[in-house]
Symmetry: C2
Subunit: 430 residues, 2 copies
């Protein structure tokens, strides 16, 4: 049987998972592909540490450049991470015309343009199923399965760490800090959790999904990003009372005329499929004009699920090498020309506001007057009968309003003498 | 730009949807594929009826054979349905070496073996994404996205008609007959609903999914099939009281050593993702050894979602024709040799039993004795305090037991003088 040599860059958690799958399912893959992918070399700065997997006859070296250059390695897997050496490695491999598999969302979100351009110039492939949604084959679904559709929108729970924290806050009524500490103790969150909880990881993935759905790279600078850091337990509870769950969402909306891409915590109706996605799981709801709503759910991270996606891409590249069908599915395709991306201030959504108001007659009227002056109409008001130091929490749910108007209204509201604390503003996605 | 000619057989609901998509998204598809798929001919016995779509310069004829034979039609779409002429058309097209797209689950479930063999012999492709799950790209996910996995099991809600009826029975407490009549009135169920409600349509889809997951055709005769006809409202309610929802499931379980494939109503825990799938929606949960659980959700039927899947396959075939990569992904692949399929009597599951028992001391002990003699252990008993003509309904939930033992136990139980009516036996899937 024909063999295709694989060079692996980065022998960390996911790298070890890839080796494990190639060992365990080598025969299965060979029988499914009619060709055997064979791991020939691994590059990692640490050549000593035991990863608990058998690398067989593969060479383990610190010299990534040599692995990329060796003609025996026909497909290069980049699992180094980061955007410095990983970028050099990917560009070097593509420059040699070698197809590349990567799981590196930050690299693609920030340097996708130059990477995709080089792959096109060299007539070779770059595959990246593992960069979004871990083991969920969402890239394939979006780019191939739904090719007959104009995308209308995508709502995704794309970060398992945040979803774990929010699930614990919802189910166990934990405060944010406790839930974060628990996630760290379980290995779901890093010691420095900023990339996850401040929404940047979700934003990288949102950039990739939006680019695939609409055919042109969406720059990171065009994405509004808010995380879940410091989200109050009381907002989780009030949202629950109103029939919603709070999730960190990537929201992508629009058509070929213009799109919006944003990442922020959002209230999702509890009967919506996304509200049922708990713990470290991810899910992506895609709204298309012909297929309507489809949803993809699974483990968004972890050694084996992510490695499953990496090896799935390797299988595609093996098929392309055997069939001589490189560039059969280019990374991005569709109508040419830059995308029109809406400013955050122009988006329209419903809002959840929590205000701490002086417990006195006429106070609520002041607030609703300000909102009305900004053309923001109120759907419901919930006042809890808990007065703390003369202030009561008041929840206001609005109908659709423009972000710019809400910004202006909140700036006025916060300056009123009857308002204590900074108002909480969350968006509602139906 | 290069054009690829399409011949469409069958101008019904889905056929009209395909024409609609090719009209509406012709430019989008061309820009995504770099090649333009062009509808050249349509064959249908009815060449007069207005389908409300513009067929442009395509020929509309009653002569399917001529459409298949015309060299201008490079890809043939079969949407005739049934297993008689559709089978002849598909075999004729493949025999000419032409790639075929079909949505015909019955044809594939019953004649897949000969169809796939002819496609292999002629070195051409047969694609069938629309045959299972309508607009959900599940075939692609299972065969390509999860290629690095050994499948451990699949649980699917694959029939929108049944899921609509069960949803109405659950939410509105409707009796089965009313829910069926409503589904018929809304066009979700046929005048003769047997194919749907007796589970045969689900079984066809289960055969396809099992064959893909395990690499060899699963014969229809190996599938245990029960539908939802006559399901009692009281069982929906009792299941709800126990924390379950009743769904018509396709259950596929096993590994390369042996599998089971069955279709029956089942109790699903209400916090399980499948329990949240309501109305005409479908969902497929796939358990894989590396990616773990992934779920795919969407519209399982309907003109546009199904046509979206058909045109998605057309795009794949266009790519294969352009790249010369026919047979890049064969219909089935994996370890060779026939699958070992477990007898229904050998499967193990948990059971829900509803018995109508004489309201007298010692009666329940008689039942539990019979169950115990068949090594069936009881997890819980729920006796509702409603005595009707001296009989009370009793719900028994068991631990895992063998189907053969349950069959034998129920045969004994039904013969006891204290038992009224036929016992209801449902299976529980966790």
């Amino acid at each position: 049987m024909r063999e295709i040599g694989i060079g692996l860059l980065g022998f960390g958690t996911v790298g070890a998972g890839v080796v494990q799958i190639l060992n365990r399912h080598g025969d299965l893959l060979a029988s499914r592909l009619g060709t055997r992918p064979v791991l020939r070399a691994i590059a990692d700065l640490d050549t000593k540490r035991d990863r608990g997997v058998d690398i067989g006859s593969a060479v383990l070296t610190a010299d990534a450049g040599a692995v990329i250059e060796d003609p025996a390695n026909q497909i290069i897997i980049e699992l180094v991470g980061g955007t410095t050496v990983a970028r050099q490695f990917v560009m070097k491999a593509l420059g040699l015309g070698k197809p590349v598999v990567t799981a590196n969302k930050a690299l693609l979100a920030e340097y996708g343009q130059e990477i995709f351009a080089l792959a096109a110039e060299k007539n070779t492939d770059i595959y990246f199923e593992a960069s979004v949604g871990g083991g969920i084959p969402i890239i394939r679904a979006l780019r191939e399965g739904l090719i007959a559709n104009q995308c209308k929108g995508i709502s995704g729970i794309l970060n398992g760490t945040c979803n774990y924290i929010l699930t614990r806050m919802t189910r166990e009524k934990m405060p944010f800090d406790d839930a974060l500490r628990e996630a760290q103790a379980k290995g779901y969150a890093e010691a420095d959790p900023a990339l996850d909880i401040d929404g940047h990881d979700t934003a990288h993935k949102a950039a990739i999904l939006a680019s695939l759905a609409y055919g042109s790279m969406v720059p990171m600078s065009a994405i509004h990003v808010e995380g879940i850091r410091g989200l109050a337990q009381s907002d989780i509870q009030c949202a629950g009372d109103l029939g919603y769950r709070i999730k960190l969402l990537a929201v992508i909306k629009g058509d070929s005329g213009g799109i919006e891409v944003r990442v922020h915590p959002a209230l999702v109706p509890e009967q919506h499929m996304l509200a049922s996605v708990n713990g470290v799981y991810n899910a992506i709801m895609v709204e298309s004009d012909m297929a309507d709503d489809t949803l993809y759910y699974g483990r968004g991270a972890g050694r084996e699920p992510t490695a499953s996606a990496v090896v799935g891409d390797v299988a595609d590249l093996v098929r392309n090498l055997v069939a001589g069908s490189s560039r059969r599915v280019p990374p991005l395709s569709g109508p040419q020309g830059p995308l029109k991306i809406r400013k955050m201030s122009d988006i329209r959504t419903r809002y959840y506001l929590r205000l701490s108001l002086l417990d006195k007659p006429g106070v609520l009227a002041k607030i609703t007057t300000v909102l009305g002056e900004h053309r923001i109409s109120i759907a419901s008001v919930l006042q809890k009968e808990v007065s703390v130091d003369k202030y009561v929490p008041v929840i206001i749910v609005t109908h659709q309003a423009k972000e710019r108007e809400m910004d202006a209204a909140l700036a006025e509201i916060v300056s009123l003498a009857v308002v204590n604390d900074k108002p909480v503003r969350l968006r509602i996605e139906e």
